[in-house]
């Protein structure tokens, strides 16, 4: 029940000096073992994605016709030529996963950016003009929240047509409300604080108040939400790909890879297992990372957990 009291001593000694915010953040973040492991895993994933054309042993679409459904190397009949085995068309699974990481990370980055930036602007507008504009924006967000996110994404893709670009758009649209709500709520609490009043009295314009004064102080929860949004973007994109509504074959998107794997559950387990494990590990890592970031950036929340 009792928590040990932590004392930090500055090596520099002498006068009391505060560590820089970045150092403080890192101290708090690196104390979290899970988040640290997640960061390392995610770093490796990014490297694999960035350098996939050079690191991957084979081309992701090259079909080795004489090596269809080769099992992974540690199973009888496997070979070092295809470490994770090959799929029904003889394509190297490891190479496809590495190239798929590029797609998944791109989907994550693009859809988070496409929803976070407009979300921040709309949220700030809603906080600064709470009457007509704010109410209008929030009602619109309520409507979008009335549908479960994956269903709304399915609806958007049903209209726009399947494909990678439309997947990113759909996910961005679907996750917009959470950023708007978060930005608005944190901006509202900041608005009543003395420094904002002081800045306003000093004659700062609305734009300056919004983006220079208030926004930097609202960033912590938004960054955390961005990380969690990244993981749900990857998950939703994979789900759309699995349903045949996302990235189209032969693109090595992780969910798309699973769509055709259903036919091989009784013969080639690796075709089913590998992409799924990759998705799961990536999403777990991103969620751990998000939790770690939240604890480090927002110590108030940590006490509650």
């Amino acid at each position: 029940m009792s928590t040990p009291i932590q004392t930090t001593l500055n090596d520099s000694g002498g006068a009391l000096s505060y560590p820089s915010p970045l150092k403080e953040f890192w101290q708090s973040f690196s104390a979290n073992l899970g988040a640290l492991i997640a960061l390392i895993f995610f770093g490796l994933l990014v490297i694999a994605a960035l350098f996939a054309p050079w690191l991957a042993p084979h081309s992701p679409i090259e079909q080795y016709r004489d090596a269809l459904l080769t099992p992974p190397v540690w199973v009888n009949g496997g070979s070092w030529l295809h470490i994770m085995g090959t799929d029904e068309l003889g394509r190297d699974i490891l190479s496809r996963l590495m190239h798929g990481a590029r797609l998944s990370l791109m989907i994550g980055v693009v859809s988070v950016a496409l929803s976070m930036l407009p979300g921040i602007v709309l949220g700030l507008l809603a906080a600064f003009y709470p009457k007509m504009l704010g109410n209008g924006i929030m009602r619109l967000m309520d409507i979008m929240l009335a549908l479960p996110s994956l269903l709304l994404a399915v609806a958007v893709v049903a209209v726009l047509g399947p494909g990678l670009l439309n997947t990113m758009l759909a996910i961005a649209i679907v996750s917009l409300p959470s950023y708007v709500r978060l930005a608005r709520a944190s901006a509202m609490t900041e608005l009543n604080k003395d420094y904002v009043v002081a800045s306003r009295l000093a004659g700062a314009g609305k734009l300056r108040l919004m983006f220079n004064t208030v926004l930097p102080n609202c960033m912590a929860p938004l960054i955390v939400q961005g990380t969690l949004g990244f993981s749900s973007a990857i998950l939703d994109a994979a789900a759309l790909g699995f349903l045949g509504l996302g990235a189209q074959p032969p693109l090595p998107e992780w969910g798309t890879m699973l769509a055709s794997a259903r036919d091989y559950i009784d013969s080639a387990w690796w075709v089913v297992t590998m992409p799924g494990v990759t998705i799961l590990l990536t999403v777990v890592a991103l969620n751990l990372l998000g939790d770690g970031l939240r604890d480090a950036l927002d110590p108030k929340l940590k006490k509650l957990a």
Binding site: L140, A146, V159, P275, V284, N287, L288
Partner: protein, 336 residues
């Protein structure tokens, strides 16, 4: 009390109007000519084209079309399927019980595992049990459930042969849909083995669909319990010399349940979204599979109607949870 309920309903009306606009816009945002898109590559003679145009009301100005659409919806007319020519609402009602049955069983599974797991983690805070449970919850929370379904099928259906791969019941049974709930209908029919077959078909999809809610419930229960266990009245109970189990179950759990129940209510949306994936994997004849099939068949009236019906459902359930919350907790009822 009455005015509280009215106020809640009033807040929902604009949302509902917005959802009808969304569903209405859906069919108009399809790039290209909707009729040509729906009919595909087939040759269409101009006569048929005009008739289809007229039947769907597409030859009128947008606001008139929207007005007609809302009037129709209010009368329970959600359009007609292009493929089966059946009204969307009757198709929905026919398939809906299957989804409800699956979702209810998934929720029961989620609560049966999630609640005790969360309690266990909270009372053993910081121990290996806590870490393992929360690690499991994190994994469940991050699970791509379409893959989880495939893995379970691979393990339990293909390798062990314990459960069937798809459908609601074995083909040899012909069950009369009295309630639409297969578990109940098989009991009514009295056919031997039918109930067991239905149960076997239900287990895996329910586990798959219940995985994410289970993880959410476990996490929520743990944090709510930790909060409550710190309270003075728990210390008092302990000081009185009450047993540990009694304190946890009678004193702590009751007070920790409020946020957990809210979370359970909010999972309805998650369940419906998950149903799309789960039903597709297990060929479960519910509204999720119906919606996806309609999209691939370009049966847009069904997509439109289905989306609207599901949105209405989610809005109504959230409204109900809101109202129930006010009924249980007078402080919320009287807050402005």
């Amino acid at each position: 009390m009455f005015s509280f309920i009215l106020r809640r309903i009033a807040v929902v009306i604009p949302t509902f109007i917005g959802v009808t606009l969304l569903a209405f816009a859906l069919i108009h945002m399809i790039p290209g000519d909707p009729i040509l898109v729906m009919m595909g590559e087939r040759q269409i003679d101009p006569e048929f084209y005009r008739a289809a145009m007229q039947r769907l009301g597409l030859d009128q100005p947008l606001y008139v079309q929207y007005g007609h659409y809302v009037l129709n919806v209010l009368q329970g007319n959600f359009g007609q399927s292009i493929v089966t020519q059946e009204p969307v609402l009757s198709e929905f009602l026919k398939l809906f019980p299957a989804t409800v049955e699956l979702s209810l069983c998934a929720m029961m599974f989620a609560c049966a595992i999630g609640l005790p797991a969360g309690m266990l983690a909270a009372t053993r805070r910081g121990t290996v049990i806590d870490h393992v449970t929360m690690g499991g919850a994190l994994t469940g929370y991050s699970m791509p459930i379409f893959w989880w379904g495939l893995i379970l099928i691979m393990l339990f259906s293909v390798h062990l042969g314990w459960t069937p791969v798809s459908g609601r019941i074995a083909l040899e049974y012909d069950i009369n849909p009295v309630t639409g709930f297969m578990l109940i209908d098989t009991l009514i029919s009295g056919e031997e083995g039918a109930f067991k077959s239905a149960l076997h078909h239900l287990v895996l999809p329910a586990v798959v669909l219940g995985t994410i809610p289970m993880a959410v419930i476990a996490r929520m229960t743990r944090s709510a319990m930790l909060e409550v266990l710190r309270e003075d009245y728990i210390r008092t109970a302990r000081a009185k010399g009450l047993g540990r189990t009694r304190i946890v179950i009678v004193h702590a759990l009751r007070n920790a349940l409020m946020p957990v129940v809210t979370v359970i209510g909010l999972q309805v949306g998650t369940l419906l979204a998950g149903a799309v994936l789960t039903e597709t994997i297990f060929s479960w004849p519910g509204i999720g599979k119906w919606l996806i099939d309609s999209i691939s068949r370009r049966d847009y009236p069904v997509v439109q109607g289905g989306i609207l019906l599901i949105a209405t459902l989610v809005i109504s359930v959230n409204l109900l949870v809101d109202i129930l919350y006010g009924v249980i907790n007078p402080r919320i009822r009287h807050a402005r």
